[in-house]
Amino acid sequence: MSLAVDDLQVYYRTLRGDVRAVDGVTFDIADGEIMGLAGESGCGKSSLGNSLVYLTGRMKYVGGTVDLDGTKLPIWDFEAMNEHRFRHISVIPQYAMSALNPTRKIGAMTADLVGSRGVPYKHVAGEFIRRLELVGLSKDVLGMYPIELSGGMKQRAVMVVSTLLDPSLLIADEITSALDVSTQKAVAEMLVEFRDRGFVKSMVVITHDISILYQVADTILVMYAGHLVEKAPADVIIGAPSHPYTRLLISSLPEVGVRYTERRLHGIPGTPPPLLAPPEGCRFRDRCPLASAKCVKRPPFRELEPGHHVACWEVGG
């Protein structure tokens, strides 16, 4: 058991009250598991990802626990978290393109970084170069400034840097969205490669793009409006999703490789409920074809069959 999240609640402080971006989320990630995290924008998937490493100024820890390899992560305490960041849990941010200090050579910057974490650069230098080469970057990159790299190269460099200390969990946030299909494929394969080589034990891959998840993810976790909807092995989610939302989600994919992006789901009338003071019960019920009276109560995220959890009254009796 690599990661165990139990009833995690993380809200955004706003003027009109708390936005319940992550509202009582419970799930596990097994060692070596690559879990895809999917859902429309604003469904809270990025918030969930972030909350595991780095609570930004306006995110508020409300409740729940996060255990990594049996140790409890103090995610509410910025300073205390530093100990775990990078070493045990690391991230490839959405903004990987601009994540590197523009005025510092990549080698030097990495040296500063690991050095500041008490790891002498020379201990990791060799590995660093090897991994760069693994992702197709020559060692010259060390002597280059970010501006000298293309977007894809920067992204790969960031991948390598983020995983340099072999964290047990890596959060990859929308890392493919800025790339074209072929590059995406490559990046995706690298993620798997990283896992297989044990650079990271397990991963959370956050993306809109279910087709990408199909390529990399062992399991897929679907979120809707701050709630978990369904978690199951990738082929199950793609092939035989059981939650009505998941079904619509999958069916609304024209074909693999094309994204639905910002557009609200065509198939489904209505929009997700506002996350400040959201309605009790199932948050999908207004748009749900199967909605019934039961749905006013929040459906538990129960195990349908081993490895397949669903939050719906109507499925699997």
Binding site: Y12, S41, R58, Y95, G151, S177, A178, D180, R259, L275
Partner: protein, 316 residues
């Protein structure tokens, strides 16, 4: 430099870090209405902004009302000579060595300061933006050429040009001065805008707009300018203050308007007429204090606005 291979519209929506003005909030939060509400919310709670705005507005009020309550025309030599501030016959700030009403001169000067600031700053801002956008967006030879023009304006000492103008216009008005300042004080603004545009141009969403075939003007005014709007506004404020300071300097060396009084001219005249040695402090203190108050509060206001427009700075 290389533009990212291919871009999806998603990044535009999701990259919370494009443009300092976009608050890092969940998607459903980023609706314009709430955005505005939010800005206002922080605006009214930002001490710097409130303070700056307060001082500036009260100064403005004095500048508008003052001349009406002043009892004597600012240039008349009516009164007793060098009277310290008094309530008698309306010489609230006393009189000059030659018996002019300091209060009347002060409030008129304030008014002039605001006129110069608004017009001078405005013109400078417009020129600066046009030049900056074009240079920053087009780059290449256009950039170099505009840079050169900017440099020329930058290195030509302003007084030189004003001297010529001064020699020609035997009666110079405040407008002349304001326009002149506007035409000469835009270079730094142009450079700043250029730099900003430059960095924004390399952003994915601009590249995207480019790819999707929008014209340069569209890109500049739909993609770039909006993302800098707060920046541009703050730039204007700085130019406003700058214009006031420049005007004061020009007036002080006798290149100011000929048919009125300004804060700078008050300083010049007070110095020329030995106000320091005769300890006529009420003559040379007010104009400087006023300029300091206006420009200073503008700057403070500027930082306040910055914090309001740019949520990342609110933590500070």
């Amino acid at each position: 430099m290389s533009v990212p291979d291919r871009v999806s519209t998603t990044t535009v929506g999701d990259d919370l870090r494009i443009g300092a003005a976009v608050p890092p909030a969940p998607a459903d939060e980023a609706k314009p209405v709430s955005g505005l509400r939010e800005t206002l919310y922080f605006a009214v709670r930002n001490k710097k902004l409130i303070f700056g705005l307060g001082v500036t507005l009260s100064m403005l009020a004095i500048a508008i009302v003052g001349p009406y309550i002043a009892r004597h025309p600012p240039l008349d030599y009516g009164g007793q000579l060098s009277v310290p501030p008094t309530t008698r016959d309306g010489y609230w700030l006393g009189t000059t060595l030659l018996g002019q009403d300091v209060f009347a001169q002060f409030v008129t000067g304030l008014r002039m300061a605001f006129v110069v600031g608004a017009i001078g700053g405005g013109i400078a801002a417009i020129i600066g933006m046009v030049v900056g956008f074009t240079a920053g967006y087009r780059g290449g030879i256009v950039d170099e050429l505009l840079n050169m023009v900017t440099n020329v304006v930058l290195v030509i000492p302003t007084f030189a040009l004003l001297l010529v103008i001064a020699a020609y216009l035997q009666v110079r008005g405040i407008m002349t001065e304001a326009i002149f300042i506007g035409l000469t004080s835009w270079p730094w603004a142009a450079r700043a805008v250029r730099a900003q545009t430059f960095s924004l141009t390399s952003r994915d969403f601009v590249s995207l707009a480019r790819l999707s075939g929008s014209s340069s003007r569209q890109i500049i005014f739909r993609e770039i300018a909006p993302n800098m709007s707060s920046y541009l506004f703050m730039m204007f404020i700085l130019l406003f203050g700058g214009a006031i300071l420049i005007a004061a300097t020009l007036d002080f060396i006798g290149l100011g308007p000929s048919n009125t009084i300004s804060l700078g001219m008050m300083m010049q005249l007070s110095v020329q007429n030995a106000a320091l040695q005769l300890h006529l402090w009420w003559w040379f203190l007010p104009p400087g204090l006023a300029i300091m108050a206006i420009v200073g509060s503008l700057y403070v206001m500027n930082v306040g606005l910055d914090e309001v427009f740019n949520p990342r700075l609110r933590s500070m």
